[in-house]
């Protein structure tokens, strides 16, 4: 008897739970899963503009994008973009997290407001940096000249290398505080007595960082790197609104190429095929990372 009523209670709990999650599941199903499937369907047709009927063309779109250099070049730029961002962001975030872990007057305010670059809308960031880096009134050129780094004003978005570098720095500037806050949470979980014991044993600050902080932070760093990679691959607006993919396609990453193919070149099916390839690559990469590089959890 009690067991039966228990089972009934469990079933009622499950029904209630499903009622609560149903709206989210339906919402995401309609706006993510269904579009994903129709993306696959679109990629084997030859639709050029939305609403027009397409004909089944098999793998033609895949063959044509994979045999054109535009796709591979954009993919290579995406790799440069993702790796550049990962390196710059992680280093800056680690430094910021180590600083914010200390106690000093105003530390709570600092720990909150550090994320200010992340809460400000992208369009504002675009305006800020387009202006600061511009040659008419921008602050950065005079600043660098004053510091003796450069002799005359440079166009930060005028050459392939400088445009990509500037964009990586701007995007990293936007995202590093967010990662720093996450890393700070990881740092605060490391028991203080570990450091104290090491200090008593005469370990230097650097040795403590290498032998205690880094290994214990590894799981958090790993998760952040994987998520950060996916998120920075997705970045579209900062690149599009600052360089538009230029100069001469030097900053045309995959999202930019897909957007242009679909909405400027009106080749929707080709754009869909690129999206599918991009997603397979990302998923494969993420899975590979989780399988082979994930740090083992030790004891909990």
């Amino acid at each position: 008897m009690p067991r039966r009523s228990q089972r009934r209670a469990a079933r009622r709990e499950a029904i209630f739970a499903w009622t609560l999650v149903a709206p989210v599941i339906l919402w995401l199903g309609a706006t993510l899963v269904y579009p994903l499937v129709s993306s696959l369907a679109l990629s084997v047709e030859n639709v050029r503009i939305i609403g027009s009927a397409g004909r089944f063309v098999g793998l033609d779109n895949y063959l044509s994008i994979l045999s054109a250099s535009a796709f591979w070049l954009a993919l290579a730029r995406s790799v440069v973009w993702v790796v550049g961002n990962a390196v710059v962001q992680t280093v800056l975030a680690m430094a910021a997290a180590l600083i914010l872990e200390q106690t000093f007057p105003g530390v709570r305010v600092a720990r909150t407001w550090i994320v200010v670059t992340w809460i400000v809308p992208t369009i504002v960031i675009v305006i800020v940096w387009r202006w600061l880096l511009s040659t008419s009134g921008g602050m950065i050129n005079p600043l660098l000249i004053g510091l003796g780094v450069i002799n005359e004003p440079v166009g930060f978005f005028s050459t392939a290398t400088s445009a990509m570098t500037s964009l990586v720095l701007i995007n990293s500037w936007r995202w590093f505080p967010f990662i720093a806050v996450m890393l700070l949470a990881g740092l605060q979980r490391i028991p203080a007595d570990l450091y104290e014991a090491a200090a008593i044993d005469g370990a230097s600050r650097f040795a403590r960082f290498r032998r205690i902080t880094l290994p214990l932070l590894e799981p958090a760093l790993f998760v952040l790197t994987v998520i950060g990679t996916l998120l920075s691959f997705n970045v579209f607006d900062i690149v599009w609104l600052i360089t538009g993919g230029g100069p001469a396609d030097a900053t045309t990453t995959l999202p930019i190429l897909i957007y242009r193919t679909a909405f400027k070149g009106y080749r929707l099916s080709e754009a869909a095929a690129m999206s599918v390839v991009a997603m397979l690559l990302l998923m494969g990469l993420a899975m590979l990372a989780v399988r082979t590089l994930a740090p083992r959890e030790e004891g909990g």
């Binding site: 709990e13 209630f16 739970a17 499903w18 609560l20 999650v21 989210v24 599941i25 919402w27 995401l28 706006t31 993510l32 269904y34 579009p35 994903l36 679109l42 609403g51 600083i99 000093f104 600092a110 720990r111 407001w113 550090i114 994320v115 200010v116 670059t117 809460i119 400000v120 809308p121 369009i123 675009v126 305006i127 800020v128 202006w131 008419s136 009134g137 005079p142 967010f178 806050v181 996450m182 949470a185 605060q188 979980r189 450091y195 600050r205 998520i227 691959f233 997705n234 579209f236 607006d237 609104l241 995959l254 999202p255 897909i258 957007y259 679909a262 869909a272 999206s275 991009a278 997603m279």
Partner: protein
């Protein structure tokens, strides 16, 4: 642990550097929005304004479409925020407080959606919206914004829900309260800081959204701030005074929101990061 003088100096230097990197660009922009145009584009920039004018703000608010963009953005962000909060609270409660078959699988699938490349569904979503006659309609933006905010919002609810003791719910159940009553009367007030941080996250991500707004909205009358301002930049010679005033006003709502609930928001971020 005690710190030596050298470490303290390094810390102060690091802090100063962080403050400069994070805040100086904003100071330049905000302080320059009240400078006269010739000072803004001068080749010898000034840290502190030498001139004072509100003409850029006046121009932005009276002779550009900015006020309309602002109203559209406020409407879209408020609606996206409300829908995200409701969905995240309901499903968060189910994910973190109830047992049901398929729970872990669904939760993981939703987490996966957080890092999902939006560009992949841009084309098909555009097709769906056009079939549903929602192109150039602000509702389309709300639908999309919720999709991309809700996975992270659910994740943020986790730590806040885990902090509510189970005994409180059990006691209420013994008193005969229904599950919905418990959720609404007991859980919701206890996780108010979590709800605040989810709300600010949803508002911010909607406030900043450009990609979908740029293809789903077509008329000037329905543009949100990111698309509207980007359109103004694109026109002929950039009017930097106007843009700086636009940047300042666009930053204001999120900074004000953050001033009041930023503490909870960062707590939500870090609490979620702890297992």
């Amino acid at each position: 642990m005690r710190r030596g003088l050298g470490v303290n100096l390094a810390l102060a230097g690091g802090l100063a550097f962080l403050a400069v990197v994070a805040l100086l660009p904003f100071w330049w922009v905000i302080s320059s929005s009240i400078k006269a145009t010739n000072e803004i584009v001068s080749t010898t920039p000034t840290m502190i304004p030498h001139s004072f004018t509100l003409e850029h703000f006046a121009k932005l608010l009276t002779s550009s479409d900015y006020p309309r963009f602002l109203i559209n953005s406020l409407a879209v962000s408020a609606a996206s925020m409300a829908a995200t909060v409701v969905l995240a609270v309901l499903s968060g409660y189910a994910f973190f407080r109830l047992r049901f078959a398929g729970r872990d699988f669904l939760y993981r699938a939703i987490l996966l959606a957080y890092a999902f490349p939006a560009i992949v569904v841009l084309v098909p979503l555009y097709g769906m919206m056009s079939a549903a006659r929602l192109i150039d309609n602000l509702f389309a933006l709300v639908i999309v914004n919720v999709t991309f905010a809700v996975p992270f919002a659910i994740w943020m609810m986790r730590a806040f829900l885990a902090a509510v003791p189970l005994e409180i719910e059990e006691a209420a159940r013994l008193d005969g309260a229904s599950r919905l009553t418990i959720l609404w009367r007991i859980i919701v007030p206890l996780i108010a800081p979590g709800i605040a941080s989810v709300a600010i996250f949803a508002f911010i991500s909607s406030w900043t959204e450009y990609l979908f707004a740029s293809v789903l909205i077509q008329s000037d009358a329905n543009k949100t701030i990111p698309v509207g301002l980007a359109g103004i930049i694109g026109q002929y010679q950039v009017d930097w005074g106007l843009m700086l005033a636009g940047a300042t006003i666009t930053t204001l709502p999120v900074v004000v929101l953050f001033f009041f609930i930023g503490r909870y928001f960062v707590a939500g971020l870090t609490a979620g990061a702890i297992k």
